[in-house]
């Protein structure tokens, strides 16, 4: 068993992270003392029903909001704000509508001094190819499908070579077939780049297929109720979704999610 507390192997560490919002009906406890360590190169899924603070968790790691207490550490440094070392992909992609595909991907690199035009070009070309967008490089977002837009968002985050890639319900708005294509794509990118990936989803099947570990969040307050290892190996394709051990794992995690969703709903 890996020692998840020793920090030098860990890319990302959350220590007693708590986030409260001031709502109309008093303080909302979005997340309550979250402890999590993600080793370098790991692929972690976070599942939970709506209201479990999944998106809040990503926003805290991305540095777009600050925890009420506790701290987020990236390579042993406390996260104080957003930065390109933590790439974030939103559910809607948040692709720049006024930029072509390649200029979307170029955004982060344009901000860097001392990066030659050829170097930039070569990097953009590689990530366009990796995400299957080479033929669409000059297209505008309005001409793209939802799946293609998500590819742009992923390529745009990855070209900055983040230490962690954060995906916030990235395929939730896609049709089932496109969603599976994207799941296979993100698995392949993970293999090709060795990036640490943290994906948040409400889809347990997706969480099990993608992650080496599945972290289950309960609601009200958002907290970790279970962490499940996924012993499916790293060489997965879609057929694994029909394997008995996959189905068993999925069912047991769905049960956990359901129990906590109901408990929270009854309490609310």
């Amino acid at each position: 068993m890996i020692d998840r507390v020793s920090s030098n192997r860990n890319r990302l560490v959350l220590r007693a992270v708590t986030k409260h919002y001031d709502g109309r009906s008093g303080s909302v406890r979005a997340l309550e003392s979250i402890d999590l360590a993600v080793p370098r190169g790991e692929f972690v899924s976070v599942v939970g029903a709506s209201g479990s603070g999944k998106s809040t968790l990503l926003s805290l790691i991305a540095g777009l909001s600050r925890p009420t207490s506790g701290e987020v550490l990236l390579d042993d440094y406390v996260v104080t704000g957003p930065g390109p070392d933590r790439g974030l992909v939103f559910q809607d992609g948040a692709v720049y509508p006024f930029r072509t595909v390649e200029r979307n991907v170029a955004f982060g690199l344009e901000l860097l001094p001392r990066l030659s035009a050829e170097d930039r070009r070569a990097r953009i070309d590689w990530y366009l190819a990796e995400t299957g967008l080479t033929a669409l490089r000059r297209a505008l977002p309005k001409q793209l499908s939802g799946g293609q837009r998500q590819r742009v968002a992923i390529a745009r985050a990855l070209v900055c070579q983040p230490e962690v890639l954060l995906l916030d319900e990235p395929f939730g708005a896609l049709d089932v077939q496109t969603k599976e294509d994207m799941q296979v794509l993100i698995r392949r990118i993970w293999t090709d780049t060795g990036t640490t990936v943290l994906v948040v989803t409400h889809d347990v099947e997706e969480a099990v297929f993608l992650g080496q570990r599945v972290v289950v969040l309960g609601s009200n307050p958002g907290r970790i109720v279970s962490v499940v290892d996924v012993p499916l190996g790293d060489d997965r394709d879609l057929t694994v979704k029909r394997a008995p051990e996959f189905l068993a794992l999925r069912a047991s995690i769905e049960d956990i999610v359901r129990v906590h969703h109901r408990a929270a709903a009854a309490g609310a």
Partner: protein, 282 residues
């Protein structure tokens, strides 16, 4: 959310039914495209209808010809005035005032609107005052401006500025506020700083909407310049109208009105073309 308890549904009377709506032709259906022919007919009617009405009023003698010249007389008068070069001088005098006065208003209002739409502090600092000031009709300032600034160009340019600056600022701020927060957030995660987000995300995303605002307010500027020239001026299309009115040359006034409309239309088309080019991504 409690567990659903099974209860038997009460026996209500049957729900009343409504007759299904009759199918409607495209011209009477909400937001549906009409045929190119129908479109052409409506567009022709839009231009030809008022012209025809004008012509009928004069041809039938329903209105005294001294007060309402026929379209033909108005056009003839316009050609005559144009030939003497007078109309061109007047038009240019008015256009120049709009270029300066409205140009100044745009240069001042767009950056301020960008800041108001981006920063809550600047919004709170200006919005209450501007929200009030924009309801003061610009023509009401004419006597004041003449008192303060004399009879030169300054009061006319200032009037155009007052008539457009507050609206253009608030409309720009509203456009800026529609930039999705997710675009701003994702830019931070890609390493952009505040200034870079403004320059590389907020400005390009807002630009088509800002041009739309400028288009709307250009019409107001064009109206303001004529008002300014009606009151105190030695040149311009508004001045020409007062001169002609003094000698009861109504066909001349109509000629000037035609010119005012055509220049306004030209400004509108130019800005629409610019908007479509800049907003190709929309």
């Amino acid at each position: 959310m409690s567990q659903t308890a099974t209860t038997t549904r009460p026996r209500w009377s049957a729900l009343p039914r409504r007759r299904p709506p009759r199918p409607r032709p495209a011209v009477a259906t909400l937001r549906v495209d009409i045929s190119p022919l129908a479109r052409a007919i409506f567009i022709t009617l839009s231009v030809a209808g008022p012209l025809l009405g004008w012509w009928l009023l004069t041809a039938t003698g329903a209105v005294d010809a001294r007060f309402l010249p026929s379209p033909v007389e108005a056009v003839n008068s316009a050609v005559e005035m144009a030939a003497s070069g007078q109309l061109l001088d007047d038009a240019w005098a008015s256009v120049r005032r709009v270029l300066y006065g409205f140009g100044l208003a745009v240069v001042a209002s767009v950056p301020l609107g960008l800041l108001m739409g981006s920063f809550r502090s600047i919004w709170s600092l200006f919005e209450p005052a501007f929200g009030l000031l924009r309801y003061l009709p610009a023509p009401a300032f004419v006597p004041l401006l003449i008192g303060w600034l004399g009879l030169d160009e300054a009061p006319k340019l200032t009037l155009i500025f007052i008539a457009t600056f507050f609206f253009n600022t608030l409309m720009t701020a509203d456009v800026v506020r529609t930039v999705p927060v997710s675009l701003i957030d994702v830019s931070y995660t890609l390493g952009a700083r505040t200034g870079e987000v403004l320059r590389k995300v907020v400005v390009p995303h807002s630009l088509p909407g800002i041009i739309d605002a400028i288009r709307v307010n250009a019409a107001a500027a064009w109206g303001a310049v004529v008002v300014a020239e009606l009151v105190a001026s030695e040149s311009g299309l508004g001045y020409r109208i007062t001169r002609l009115a003094r000698f009861s040359q109504y066909e001349g006034i109509f000629a000037v009105l035609i010119v005012i409309a055509l220049i306004g239309l030209a400004i509108d088309i130019a800005l629409r073309i610019l908007r479509d080019r800049v907003g190709r991504w929309v």
